[in-house]
């Protein structure tokens, strides 16, 4: 307590005396200011980005020799675990007892500042510098205790001590205060900056959907985020260890060796595909460095690519199917042209019936292909959001009848009847060509998937919901419950081994795009396989 009171007194009186200084004093003061600035710069440079308070106190302490005379310079840090760290640098030879006196004075000062008894469980002591000689008769005659406060917290105490009386007056006090204050302020700022950056970083890592871990140089897990467990399928409430992670990877990748390699080569390692039981992961391993650029460990990012993989597979299947579907009509055109040419140049003469037949084949194949290419273009337009409608007021019953009539010949081949139940006339606004396309898609599907019975088309208007709904009901093979939801999605041509029919399934995707663009709804209902299906779409009346 005394030390604090004394030092406060010295400080105050120094400020008063400031006005009485002579010019000679002013030049000395200037010189000292330059010196102070140098020391501060040195402290700043040495502290760098360190937030190790012990180290900071150490740096400040070791810089004081340039400014002050002392026999010993010491610092004491009280650790949160109740241990005390005491470091003493001996500048001039003193006795063990001298150092004990210093230590005692520092503890007293600590008690005064904290206003509580300080009895460290253990003191981690280190004495450096000159040799000690207990034969000397030296006592602590003057000393100065300086608290180091960073971010409003007492982090340590610096002490200078001398065997000469009256060593530390106002000038020295001023120097010490300035230095510790400025160093402490700089560190406080740095600390709060780093804390907030660290906080942000931690928040980012914690909120990442990817699993992230960091390990130290001994391959021990130091950090992991919550997403990790889910991605690796680890079920435990206990804190994770590296073993859990190695286990979950089931020998698919030797993560520890890869981490060691990333550290040894100081190069990120990407493992593009690790296939676990029900997951596909992409791993990126990189070394982690501290501010000095030393490698202190490694980080691993586990990115879940299961969905991407599944999509990629679907896309590949879709492409393969499209290639097949496009090649089929091309093949027919090619072979038919070939036989046509042969027929035309045959010595036996041209057979008109044969030629007509072949040309019909070419026509049908070309139409099939055109339809397919148009569907593909429509899907592309829908996906790009560039689907444009030509909305006009038309009679929808007229359009339904038109389409039903167009499909009659095709239905008759399979002995199917097409029946339309609708009012005589019903007008609303829609794109006639596009809705015609939807009707054509749905009716041709019904015919394709029905081997006997009939196709019923029916229009119903709901004045309350302000919708007009067209139902196309068949007595065909039906749709299983699990397939119903997938009918209108791209890449999905239901190809069951029992009753697969030709088709890309693009027609339904396009139909959905058209109905969506009208602000309507399209859906399918079926009681189950072989129980027939109903495809329906509704259009809003007020559009």
């Amino acid at each position: 307590m005394l030390a604090i009171v004394v030092s406060a007194y010295i400080y105050a009186s120094m400020r008063e005396r400031k006005f009485l200084r002579s010019e000679a004093n002013q030049s000395l003061e200037l010189q000292q200011k330059v010196y102070q600035a140098q020391v501060l710069k040195e402290i700043n440079d040495r502290i760098g980005y360190s937030l190790d308070t012990g180290k900071i106190v150490d740096i400040i302490t070791s810089s004081l020799g340039n400014l002050l005379e002392y026999d010993t310079v010491s610092y004491m840090v009280l650790e949160p675990d109740g241990k005390a760290l005491f470091k003493c640098h001996v500048e001039k030879t003193v006795t063990h007892d001298f150092i004990e006196q210093v230590k005692h004075k520092m503890l007293m000062s600590y008690e005064a500042i904290l206003n509580q008894a300080v009895a460290p469980k253990a003191v981690d002591e280190s004495i450096t510098g000159n040799i000690l000689d207990d034969s000397l008769r030296v006592e602590v005659q003057s000393f100065f205790n300086l608290p180091v406060v960073i971010s409003e917290k007492l982090v340590g105490l610096i002490n200078v001590a001398s065997s000469e009386k009256g060593r530390y007056g106002a000038e020295q006090a001023s120097i010490l205060y300035t230095i510790t204050n400025q160093a402490a302020t700089a560190v406080s700022k740095l600390q709060s900056l780093l804390e907030s950056e660290k906080g942000k970083l931690a928040a980012v890592i914690y909120s990442l959907a990817d699993g992230v871990i960091t390990v130290d140089l001994t391959n021990q897990l130091t950090v992991y985020n919550p997403a990790l467990k889910g991605i690796l399928g680890i079920v435990t409430e206990k804190p994770l260890t590296m073993f859990d992670i190695v286990d979950s990877l089931a020998g698919k990748v030797d993560i520890r060796t890869k981490i060691e390699q990333a550290i040894a080569e100081d190069k990120p390692i990407a493992i593009p595909e690790v296939l676990l039981k029900d997951k596909a992961l992409e791993l990126t391993i990189a070394s982690v460095k501290n501010s000095e650029g030393e490698i202190i460990g490694a980080s691993v990012v586990f990115h879940d690519i299961t969905t991407e993989k599944a999509l990629e597979k679907l896309r590949q299947e879709f492409t393969a199917m499209m290639v097949h579907e496009l090649r089929a009509p091309l093949t027919a055109v090619r072979w038919s042209s070939e036989s046509l040419l042969k027929n035309l140049s045959a010595a036996s003469g041209v057979e008109p019936a044969k030629v007509k037949d072949t040309v019909l084949t070419i026509e049908t194949a070309s139409n099939n292909m055109l339809e397919l290419v148009n569907d593909l273009l429509d899907v592309a337009k829908i996906e790009a959001g560039k689907f444009e409608l030509n909305m006009q007021e038309y009679d929808i019953v007229e359009l339904i009848n038109e389409q039903a009539k167009a499909f009659k010949p095709q239905a008759e081949i399979k002995h199917l009847a097409i029946n339309v139940t609708a009012p005589e006339k019903y007008s609303l606004k829609f794109d006639r060509v596009r809705i015609g396309q939807v009707l054509s898609n749905l009716i041709s599907n019904s015919i394709k998937y029905t081997d006997s019975g009939q196709i019923e088309i029916n229009l119903s208007v709901n004045a309350e919901e302000k919708t007009a709904t067209v139902y196309i009901k068949d007595s065909g093979i039906g749709v299983s419950r699990e397939d119903l939801g997938q009918l209108f999605s791209k890449f999905k041509q239901l190809r069951g081994s029992e009753h697969a029919r030709k088709g890309t399934g693009l027609g339904l995707v396009v139909s959905k795009g058209i109905i969506d663009a009208h602000g309507g709804k399209i859906w399918a209902e079926s009681a189950g396989e072989n129980l027939g299906s109903t495809f329906a779409f509704s259009l809003p009346l007020n559009k």
């Binding site: 393969a320 097949h324 090649r327 089929a328 027919a332 038919s336 070939e338 036989s339 084949t361 009753h499």
Partner: protein, 127 residues
Amino acid sequence: MTKILLAEDDKLISNSLCDALKAAGYEPTPAYDGEEAVAKTKESVPDLILLDIMMPKLDGISVLWELKANPATASVPVIVLTNIGDVDTISKIVEAGATDYLLKSDQSVDEIIQKVKDVLARTVKLS
């Protein structure tokens, strides 16, 4: 007359190939899906089979396995005609015991007829 079973679900392709086979002096029988193809070989064993892969009900590779499993048809030469040209499919076709393999859109009808002739000639020599 040499009997050829043509398993092809695309009617247009089937028609034009049937015409060409007839013109070349063979007796083609069309089958429009995998099951029909297997059934037709049971009615009457053909001298050669032209087989598509992507077919309804039973795909070409399954048809091939069934043909090879049946002693009556195990030695009938099968030329696979398909438009799926990926390595995976080709290796499956070879594994299932096809005699030859042709990519439809790469061939002219004449080339296919020539292939049929070649395979038949080889088969006769062997038997």
